[in-house]
Symmetry: C2
Amino acid sequence: QGVLSKNDLLAQGLRGRFREAGVFVTNWVSSPGSGKTALLETTMRQLTDRGHKVAALVGDLATENDAQRLKRSGAEVRQIVTAGTCHLEADMIERHLEGWEVDQFDFLFIENVGNLVCPSSYDLGEDLRIVLLSVTEGEDKPLKYPPMFHSADLAVITKIDLAEAVEFDRSAAYENIKAVGPQLRILETSAKRGTGLDDWIDYLLQAKAGTV
Amino acid sequence: QGVLSKNDLLAQGLRGRFREAGVFVTNWVSSPGSGKTALLETTMRQLTDRGHKVAALVGDLATENDAQRLKRSGAEVRQIVTAGTCHLEADMIERHLEGWEVDQFDFLFIENVGNLVCPSSYDLGEDLRIVLLSVTEGEDKPLKYPPMFHSADLAVITKIDLAEAVEFDRSAAYENIKAVGPQLRILETSAKRGTGLDDWIDYLLQAKAGTV
Ligand SMILES: Nc1nc2c(ncn2[C@@H]2O[C@H](COP(=O)(O)OP(=O)(O)OP(=O)(O)O)[C@@H](O)[C@H]2O)c(=O)[nH]1
Ligand SMILES: Nc1nc2c(ncn2[C@@H]2O[C@H](COP(=O)(O)OP(=O)(O)OP(=O)(O)O)[C@@H](O)[C@H]2O)c(=O)[nH]1
Ligand SMILES: [Mg+2]
Ligand SMILES: [Mg+2]
Ligand SMILES: [Zn+2]
Ligand SMILES: [Zn+2]
């Protein structure tokens, strides 16, 4: 199998620490603008309203825009500014957890840098890797960016309120997702209209409970 | 100024070769699914119909899908499969030009890998770097991915036929583009409906003639 990379060693350490703390960790990846922040904000608000303790780390090259948006959910949020690095790495996660009592949280959401390529190679110690694909991007994206779809656990098709306006070919999208990621569960959501939110939250709670 | 990287040395060599051959070269960058291939296909078809000799190189992690689509324009097209590299580099361009008499072409279009981060650091010897931003991605993307907008020459807002459906905030988008890329000329197109195509082709011809 070979020697683990420095990142993967750190990630395994994080994974152990998260398990011990009882916090369920998800790593959100997609192209820029696929709707990670929008779906995260509404997810975190719903979980907080249901009494769960929620935190998020969000990575971007620049700005605190996404952290600002996520904070509106009432959760604890920190921005990771990578200043040029095109993906989050385990050491960035470790540094930005300092000062947080991680075992106070039920959920830790990690929003990765918008990038359908590089984040696939960096374990962050997560329980679940979630890849988003918006109906506006084109149905063949899974075939063209296979490592991301191959390495994820759940695929969420986003912005389905726009499906008709862009003549979204749903069966082609499903076929392509399954071709590169046969292991993927697939859900559909509209963060804008709330479509699919209940099913998605149910899935998340079951995944945390280990009953999915 | 410091020593040029290996890539930039190769790129300068390509730039000299392109200038000598009289071919006008553009490097197209954007997020996955912003509409590079769609706009390129219609652009290449129009130029070919007007009697220009056109070629394209298109980079992707996997598949020949984009090259297949671009070939429908009647131009010469080659696919560069990077098998994991998240951006095109000058050496890949050089290798894939072998066997082509470059001075037969008026235009060489290079479609980069869908990625709003990494391609910004790799000179390919182009005359013009074009960044695409679709109305569906969100108006704050320029602020969040500054290197790409900072290093480009032209910004094209794509899929404007969807502007109303996504409540596109045009003035916010322009403000943000200008904040990170004050040098950028900005055009708007819909590859689907042909909106903005004439202005875009005029701009391209003027850029080639050096009269823009
Ligand atoms: N119509 C519609 N638009 C949406 C939906 N979700 C997000 N958007 C819009 O899509 C654009 C991008 O959304 P973001 O949430 O910023 O996307 P992101 O994946 O977080 O982007 P990055 O963090 O830069 O990679 C914004 O203009 C959102 O308003 C949706 O369900 N429906
Ligand atoms: N409504 C509308 N859809 C468009 C337009 N241009 C492209 N699309 C759609 O957007 C999706 C992505 O288009 P592509 O041309 O594949 O985008 P791309 O930038 O080449 O994608 P990558 O090469 O993977 O980075 C496809 O479903 C296109 O049909 C447009 O002007 N209007
Ligand atoms: Mg975001
Ligand atoms: Mg393309
Ligand atoms: Zn990268
Ligand atoms: Zn890269």
